[in-house]
Symmetry: C2
Subunit: 327 residues, 2 copies
């Protein structure tokens, strides 16, 4: 791609007005400026998606690619218990991408950004050969002492997940042509779960009443995220496989690789965490009242850092391996 | 490149301890957390460097590439009047880069990061085909009402630059084999100015006494940066070419393209700005006392946004075009 006029391009992707009242300078100077709120902590994360590894040009539209590149970072902010505020985007673009496609990538990001009143405050666009690489940095905030860390799981805690698990991996297989689903609605649902993950920012906010919660988002797969919580907290988890919540669409598949997608598939961008059992019922009620499902899938025990899966009376250790994209 | 064990790799690049006392969580959870200082503004910027466009593997070492990728972002923070605090790094790495080379890129970043007591607080490493792409996000801070914007130039102001101009462009031509310099010291100096730019953070701090300063860093070339200041401030600038400070090494070249490098070369990462004449002498003295040269190269007038260069009694309009890397 060649951007004929960089300033003209920036005009195309620039917001017409700022959404965050604390933003002092957005795009246009050497860097952006914002006022942080007292009694809050700033949250920062950055993730990269590379063409051919995280997405395929003939499978995902530019709008979907942009949407997801931002969504995965918002999910990280949610997993810290916070809300997203600002984002920066850098793109290295090869010649076979047009300026119009690039504008659509930004439109996809703006779609989810506007939902959260986030501001695009900076970035860079450069040319490269071969494959498009997009990096998104997100800045958010969380009230002090309400940050949610992986290391805060304790023996006796209930283990929970939001939403349903495994949909995104099934959706990817449909997109790649490896899985054919007779029922159109189920197929569309699963593909949408892969292309348009909805970060659980609201659920994380509903958890703010709880004194202590450990939290992770499901990017690399349930097994991997549970293992991370156990390692960071030095605890053991007992997970009951039949409790892991599945969507009707996924359940309808009855496919032999179903278990693999549920445990190792990843990219559902749901939240997984632990909470003292005394707080679980209230947490679940708060979520249900807002239309968010939250399910207990197991509990935490003292012991070596490991995740044990119980199914049909048998116990197996879940390995840490996660999502391998298109490998 | 294939990173055999991501956790092992992170251990290699992770700092042994935090440098910023306000950092709450660095690398290791879903995102980083830090406390912002009251009465300060947060500064954020992100820049991307792509192999083949911004650097060549056979010309720059991995350490130099890492150093520069962070330095150019620190320079943007300096151009806002701020100091850098944290950085995040995402790298998309093709197979022909080894894990050792990747560790060296991070070592190059750590070299300049430790100079400023900056913490590496996050990022991502993914594989890609063909060319390496590195994105660095830097977060800094500036005291409220001391941020330095491009739009703050006023008629009557003195126009200044720090350091010397054009060295980096000459250094690049030496690296590319387009320019041979007899004197070894001069050659090494110019190449070093290209590979290892030193952001003018200190100079920006010495400006903090001034009520009003407009400021830019020289990434795209002096002509381009001056035009940006004029456009943002709706003023005209008169620049005297003979006042633009040159290093002895550059002056010794006597090469026909010298003027082009000085005006359009870019990547010197010096600061260029304007200050009320009543404050210029004190600003210059403060810098000189710290061993930093700061030179008046012209003045600001009311009028249409344009930059006029005076040389040998003739006046020419400087166009906005800037640095084109390897094109």
């Amino acid at each position: 791609m060649t951007i004929k006029d960089e300033f003209h391009f920036i005009d195309k992707i620039k917001q017409t007005k700022n959404r965050q009242p604390q933003l002092v300078e957005g795009i246009g100077d050497d860097a952006a400026l914002y006022k942080a709120k007292p009694d809050y902590l700033e949250i920062v994360c950055a993730d990269t998606m590379a063409e051919g590894v995280h997405f395929l040009k003939d499978v995902s539209s530019p709008v979907d690619i942009g949407y997801k590149a931002l969504a995965v970072n918002i999910s990280d902010v949610a997993a810290m218990g916070g809300v997203p505020k600002y984002y920066l985007v850098t793109i290295a673009v090869p010649k076979n991408w047009s300026e119009e496609e690039l504008v659509e990538i930004y439109a996809g990001m703006d779609e989810i950004a506007s939902f959260y009143s986030m501001d695009l405050i900076g970035g860079d666009t450069v040319s490269t050969s071969d494959k498009l690489v997009i990096t998104v940095t997100v800045i958010g905030e969380v009230q002090r002492d309400k940050q949610r860390l992986r290391k805060d799981a304790r023996p006796g805690d209930s283990v929970f997940v939001t939403g349903t698990i495994g949909d995104s991996a099934a959706g990817l297989q449909i997109l790649l042509g490896n899985l054919s689903v007779d029922e159109d609605n189920a197929s569309a649902f699963l593909v949408n779960r892969h292309k348009r993950p909805m970060p659980q920012v609201k659920a994380a906010q509903l958890m703010s009443f709880a004194e202590r919660i450990s939290l992770n988002d499901i990017s690399d797969g349930l097994a991997s995220e549970l293992n991370e919580l156990c390692e960071a907290s030095c605890v053991k988890m007992i997970i009951e496989k039949d409790r892991v919540p599945l969507s009707d669409s996924l359940r309808s598949l009855n496919f032999e690789q179903l278990d693999e997608w549920i445990l190792y598939g990843g990219e559902d961008f749901e939240l997984v965490g632990t909470v003292p059992p005394s707080a679980f019922d209230l947490l679940q009620k708060k979520c249900t009242d807002e239309g968010i499902s939250l399910t207990k899938i197991g509990h935490v025990e003292a012991g070596p850092s490991e995740v044990l899966l119980i199914h049909n009376g048998k116990q197996t250790k879940l390995k840490k391996s996660g999502f391998n994209h298109f490998k």
